[in-house]
Symmetry: C2
Subunit: 200 residues, 2 copies
């Protein structure tokens, strides 16, 4: 019997999302961004924030979901190369490339989302498990050797937020280079065919 959200609640929820989005895009160190900061920036009390999102992880999930949603949709039911009607090997490459791009575009946010917090590791997040499951199936469909579960984890390890952040921010490696290197690494892991450079 979940009643509809009251209008003020909806307004505040939106305000928090907007403010948090802005903040995470701005601040240099997402881990140092406190819930008080977010509440203050949204012009809302802390109680309101926690009522709306449960806890820090809940807020981060909500933020991330908004960013990730289009990609998720494209993967689940869009046209090639992301959609289901693609050759598994190319689909894997396309998916990882797309994830790479989204994460680079939302570096701080993803960093915060993947931060281990409260005993919940990245690998327990439903988001992760969904993609992992899909990659498992796809890897198996390519018929290469090796355990598909571990391989899927390895592929996803290539786009972990902290690694990307290190390579991009710390080491200053360009997005173009990252995408190319990722593509060739994926080809290697999947038992190299020819490498196809990204188009977008």
């Amino acid at each position: 019997m979940t009643r509809a959200e009251r209008s003020d609640a909806a307004r505040n929820r939106a305000a928090v999302l907007a403010a948090a989005d802005e903040l995470f895009a701005t601040v240099p160190e997402p881990a140092r961004l406190s819930m008080d900061d977010v509440a203050a920036a949204a012009g809302v009390g802390k109680g309101t924030l926690f009522r709306a999102f449960g806890n820090r992880a809940g807020l981060l999930q909500a933020l991330w979901q908004r960013r990730y949603e289009p990609l998720r949709y494209a993967i689940e039911s869009g046209p090639p190369p992301l959609g289901p009607e693609t050759d598994p090997r190319q689909r894997i490459a396309a998916i990882l490339d797309a994830i790479l791009v989204v994460k680079l575009d939302n570096r701080h946010l993803t960093l915060a989302v993947e931060e281990r917090s409260g005993g919940t590791s990245l690998y327990e997040q439903p988001q992760y498990q969904l993609v992992h499951q899909l990659l498992c199936d796809l890897v198996r469909a390519t018929g290469g050797g090796g355990d598909s579960e571990l391989l899927a984890h390895l592929l996803l390890a290539a786009v972990r937020a902290d690694l990307l952040n290190h390579l991009a921010s710390r080491r200053g490696i360009s997005r173009r280079r990252l995408r190319a290197d990722l593509a060739s690494a994926v080809d290697l892991v999947l038992g190299s065919a020819e490498a196809s450079p990204p188009s977008d």
Copy 2:
């Protein structure tokens, strides 16, 4: 002009290391192990603990170093298959397998060590950078395609503490299976030759 450590300081340092070792081996959730806990278990004041190790990361580093030291030595100047006189491809496999084993044997400790804390990511730790550099060189020596830097990161991602913990503790995958899967994954990444099962 670093003066020698006073005897009581050395004694306390040892007591802290022993107690912390014991605790990290015992507790279920290393992140919940506070410095107060460690100090109390060691029968020492918190000030003493921080004087000796600087901060939490310092203590964890010291603990990890003791565990990792033998392996580091074996890699740097031991006999094959870990030592320098080994064929690069086999050496990579041997090193990763050894790291896997050490980390599994010290699961909670490694989990705590690799925990991102205070803006210092895994990739900035000198420990990591050392192994990464070595793997880079070895990967390059195998002459396969792909960017050696990224490949070395990927290889090390296969033995990240949180992944291992998830596979071993959460999913209940056996050590034997993990070692075998890791070995075949490494072979894949390095442009598969034949897989050789671990001996130890």
